[in-house]
């Protein structure tokens, strides 16, 4: 089990990077969704 910690760290890092990126995109999309909803309501 030599270097097991390094292996686990690498795989955790890989999926952490993608999760952080996906959360960042989801937050930006949610903010834009709010903007679209607000602008459409103002336009009525």
């Amino acid at each position: 089990m030599k270097n097991f910690n390094f292996l686990v760290s690498a795989y955790v890092a890989i999926w952490a990077i993608f999760c952080v990126y996906l959360i960042s995109v989801a937050r930006r999309m949610s903010s834009l969704q709010d903007d679209i909803r607000r602008l459409k309501e103002n336009g009525k």
Binding site: A13, Y21, Q33, D35, G43
Partner: protein, 237 residues
């Protein structure tokens, strides 16, 4: 605005549930292959299992950055904003993949080389490629007007993509600490390891496709917001 008329409604999903299931299964199979099914490498032992996602992330990053190059040329030729959206989506996703490469590389290097990092040709050119595309994304935040932003980004995107062959061929062109190629001349990978690597690459390409589609939708939504704002300011006059 070219893009606003092309955008779908913001309520439509960017990716289908079926494509998410397919990519999830591919990633699960690739993880099983990399961590369990692939044979253990004789010299490095279990730490070599980082190789499967490290290398496939690098190749996928190259594909994403090549899409920036193609999107940038297509924008300069057609001036259609959809190409700019594809470029920025691919650049951001490519940066995410190269972040994986730059993080997993040192984690692999430390137990094998005894050091986290060395400024050799492959590592330096990879870091430079990442910096260039981070700069591309920062540059975009400095220009407000969409057409001008797309034009400046396209020129910079083409320039940044010129580093891709330098990174890829650096292990042939220069003496480097980095392992020699696993494909083409000099490649001598066990066929079972090769199959797992291909499976991991397929999984990473699937993840890349989903992320680019979602990120592209973000650009469509931005264009929708801009169009609505323009419409309201026109009707307020």
């Amino acid at each position: 605005m070219a893009g606003a008329s092309e955008s779908r409604t913001s309520s439509e999903p960017a990716v289908s549930p079926l494509s998410i299931v397919v990519v999830f299964l591919l990633v699960a199979a690739a993880s099983y292959g990399a961590l369990i099914a692939a044979p253990e490498e004789a010299t490095m032992g279990m730490i070599q299992r980082i190789f499967y996602f490290h290398v496939s992330s690098a190749w996928t990053g190259f594909v994403a950055f090549t899409m920036v190059f193609i999107g940038s040329i297509a924008y300069l030729r057609t001036r259609a904003l959809k190409w700019d959206w594809l470029s920025v989506a691919s650049a951001e996703v490519g940066v995410a993949f190269f972040t994986v490469v730059l993080v997993t590389g040192p984690i692999w290097a430390k137990p094998v080389w005894g050091i986290w990092w060395t400024w050799d040709a492959r590592l330096t050119s990879s870091f430079l490629l990442w910096v260039l595309f981070v700069s591309y994304l920062i540059l975009r935040t400095l220009v407000d007007e969409p057409e001008r932003r797309a034009m400046v980004s396209a020129v910079f995107g083409i320039f940044a993509a010129l580093d891709i062959p330098l990174v890829y061929f650096s292990i042939w062109w220069f003496r480097t600490q980095h392992p020699q190629p696993v494909m083409g001349d000099g490649g001598s990978l066990d066929p079972r390891m090769w199959r797992v690597l291909m499976l991991c690459w397929a999984a990473m390409l699937g993840v890349m496709t989903l992320l680019i589609r979602v990120r592209y939708r973000l650009e469509e939504m931005r264009a929708e917001v801009d169009a609505l704002r323009m419409e309201q300011s026109r009707s307020a006059r």
